[in-house]
Amino acid sequence: MSTRWYPIYQRGNPQLRVFLPNFWMKLIRPTEEQPPNVVTFSVSMEMTKYDVRSYLEKIYKLPVVDVRTRIALGETKKDQTYGYITKKDDVKLAYVTLPREESFVFPDFFSEKAEKQAKEEKSLDDSKEGFRRFLDRNKKRPGTPGWFSI
């Protein structure tokens, strides 16, 4: 399913071997609170709700109950230098309802990373603090090595 032309064969290398279809779906984090059996996707603008349903049912074997779609207006932004306005593309959002027993929680990939970073920052702060205390202690006897006092 694609609106793109399959590339005409040309001799020589490199050959164009990857050919992508128009249809794609991107799982996104919902902005508003939703029932646990509703999953939000950003989908290709060409896809209808029937396409979304068969995509999930046929490729991923998901039990889809209902699909609702809408088109969200892209954000606009004013250029800081010249003052003209640019607009991002509109996106089609698909809200896919699964059977009521199912529940989907958007995976939190980055909480671990954030935790690790916070830990590192804390240890850095600790060592900084230690150095400051050392300087304070040795204010009146400059040049004393660290191993000198108890």
Partner: protein, 556 residues
């Protein structure tokens, strides 16, 4: 100030003592009492003030003397109508039952099939032979009515200008004929034995509309964001808000009677705080389920005008399930059953609420007596039977948690009335049990008649009692206009896309004069009902005086 206030009473007592009056006698008739009377201490917080304002407004509505003015009063805050959740009888999304139960505070039970609910069951045990003969006669009439309805529908299909109706329209037309024919046959057959059926009023495709407020719903994102933006409101950003709901429906047929049906739950059973906490809650925005919102005036119409006639209480309504054909197969059988339950709950609740409105109650003023109705959902072949008892109307704000009362609904699964109509037009496999259930509903005698004071405790007057003709006309006209659901003569101001891009979202035209409504911080949705130009009275009518140039308005 403080010193003066202390000195003043001393000085007056001193003067009185000089004049030879006793101290005791004078304290009473002076402006100072012996015991200080302090005003009630009120919570000055923003939230408490808002709640106080709201309850004052609800009290104002309660004190409005007539039914029509009460219904206008509820609409006073909005010129272009409230933003309401569109709750109608032709769209039920997947898994809608918890939301419907939350929005109507309803406990769902099974309808006991064998006994039914009326005198019919008792009588059946009493004199069986004559009852059986009666039932046989009714059965024959009903089968004949069914066959006639199908025959007539076939004839309609053959008409040259019949067109090609959709499957939903086909079911709607056929079921309308079946329900009308069955109702005619049953009224004819039963009215001799059951005298209350003589007084029944029949509405064909009546308007059933009701408006109410539901609390305990999570606030939408824009409300949350706006509160988070203010330091003093940050804590309340996630606090639940009220959603307004408007039900719109048109059943095939409804029957009304001047007396009320007997309640089947005692007041003690209806007031149970534990039970009320078990009613499912749906905290998310109803749009996440597939409901839409619209702007509309609050309308409460039970199929007739207030004071139209005596038949003010619902006996039975026949709801359509034709739109169930539009539901995808993937919803499954369990959801079909739940959708039937939720259709029964919301249609029964809305009809009773509309009737309650015509007796002076509304979503902000609590019922003082229970109201009952019976609902049948049918596609001609399959029939689901429901009984509903309305105990409470208070669903808004804190009442969601504090109100001990709940409403009750009990119902059956869809029961087939017949298997099919054969090619030669004969009814095959007629189901007596289904007919008996339907007969029970018809035989359920409405027997409660209340005095006027008991029936309408919050209604003090009637608009026909108003002496001022102009006032009567104004109220009648405004009420009918609000109930008509017509759009406003002046359309809601619109901002164009280029304005959103270059004026609202990005300030690209700072030097232009700010003349449009959104630049002057006017929110057209916040316009109140009485914010409009008054009607001009021409000089030929009013004479030369300049005083009465504009017609008076009589908004409550």
């Amino acid at each position: 100030m403080l010193r003066l206030s202390l000195v003043n009473p001393l000085r007056t007592t001193y003067k009185r003592c000089l004049a030879g009056q006793s101290l005791q006698a004078n304290v009473a008739d002076s402006e100072y009492s012996a015991e200080p009377a302090y005003p009630e201490i009120q919570d000055p917080s923003f939230k408490a003030r808002k709640q106080r304002d709201a309850s004052e407004w609800h009290e104002e509505i309660r004190k409005v003397p007539t039914v029509e003015e009460k219904l206008i009063k509820i609409n006073m805050p909005r010129y272009y109508g409230y933003k309401v959740v569109d709750f109608n009888d032709s769209k039920i999304p997947y898994n809608a039952l918890p939301l419907t139960q939350h929005y109507t505070r309803t406990v769902l039970e099974d309808l006991p099939q064998a006994t039914g609910s009326g005198s019919q069951a008792v009588k059946e045990e009493g004199d069986k032979p004559s009852e059986d003969a009666g039932f046989k006669a009714v059965r024959e009439d009903v089968i004949e009515a069914l066959e006639f309805a199908h025959d007539y529908y076939k004839h309609l299909e053959k008409l040259p200008n019949a067109g090609q109706p959709s499957a939903v329209e086909q079911e709607r037309t056929l079921t309308q004929i079946i329900v009308e024919q069955l109702n005619r046959a049953l009224l004819q057959a039963l009215s001799e034995q059951h005298k209350h059926l003589d007084e029944v009023e029949v509405d064909y495709n009546p308007r059933h509309e009701a408006f109410w407020a539901v609390g305990g719903v999570d606030p939408p994102k824009n409300v949350q964001n706006s509160k988070k933006g203010r330091e003093w409101q940050k804590e309340d950003a996630n606090q639940s808000v009220d959603r307004l709901v408007q039900y719109t429906g048109a059943p095939y047929l409804s029957l009304r009677h001047r007396k009320q049906l007997l309640p089947w739950k005692t007041p003690a059973e209806s007031e149970d705080i534990e039970l009320s906490k078990q009613v499912p809650r749906f905290k998310h925005d109803p749009r996440t389920l597939g409901y839409s919102t619209k702007h509309q005036h609050a309308t409460n119409v039970p199929g007739y005008w207030p004071k139209g006639n005596e038949q003010n209480f619902g006996l039975l309504s026949f709801q359509s399930r034709a739109h169930f054909q539009l539901r995808p197969k993937s919803f499954g059988d369990r959801d079909l059953q739940e959708a039937l339950h939720s259709l029964a709950i919301k249609s029964s609740y809305a009809w009773l609420l509309a009737q309650a409105n015509y007796n002076g109650f509304n979503t902000y003023n609590e019922l003082t007596y229970p109201m009952n109705t019976q609902t049948v959902i049918t596609n001609g072949r399959e029939w689901s039977f429901y009984e509903y008892q309305l105990n409470t109307l208070l669903l808004h704000g804190n009442h969601q948690d504090d109100n001990p009362r709940v409403n009750f609904c009990r119902g059956t699964k869809p029961l087939p009335l017949y298997a099919e109509i054969s090619t030669n037009g004969k009814c095959v496999d007629f189901n007596d049990a289904t007919l008996r259930q339907l007969l029970n509903f018809y035989a359920n005698v409405p027997s409660i008649q209340r005095t006027n004071e008991e029936l309408q405790p919050y209604v003090a007057s009637d608009i026909s009692a108003y002496e001022n003709t102009e006032q009567r006309d104004f109220i009648a006209k405004t009420f009918k206009y609000l109930a008509s659901n017509r759009p406003r003569h002046l359309e809601i101001p619109e901002f164009y896309l280029w304005e959103k891009l270059y004026k609202i979202d990005n300030n690209n035209r700072a030097m232009e004069p700010k003349r449009r409504f959104f630049e002057r911080e006017v929110n057209p949705w916040r316009r109140t009902l009485d914010q409009h130009d008054k009607v001009y009275v021409p000089r030929a009518i009013r004479g030369k005086s300049r005083e009465n140039r504009y017609k008076k308005t009589y908004y409550p």
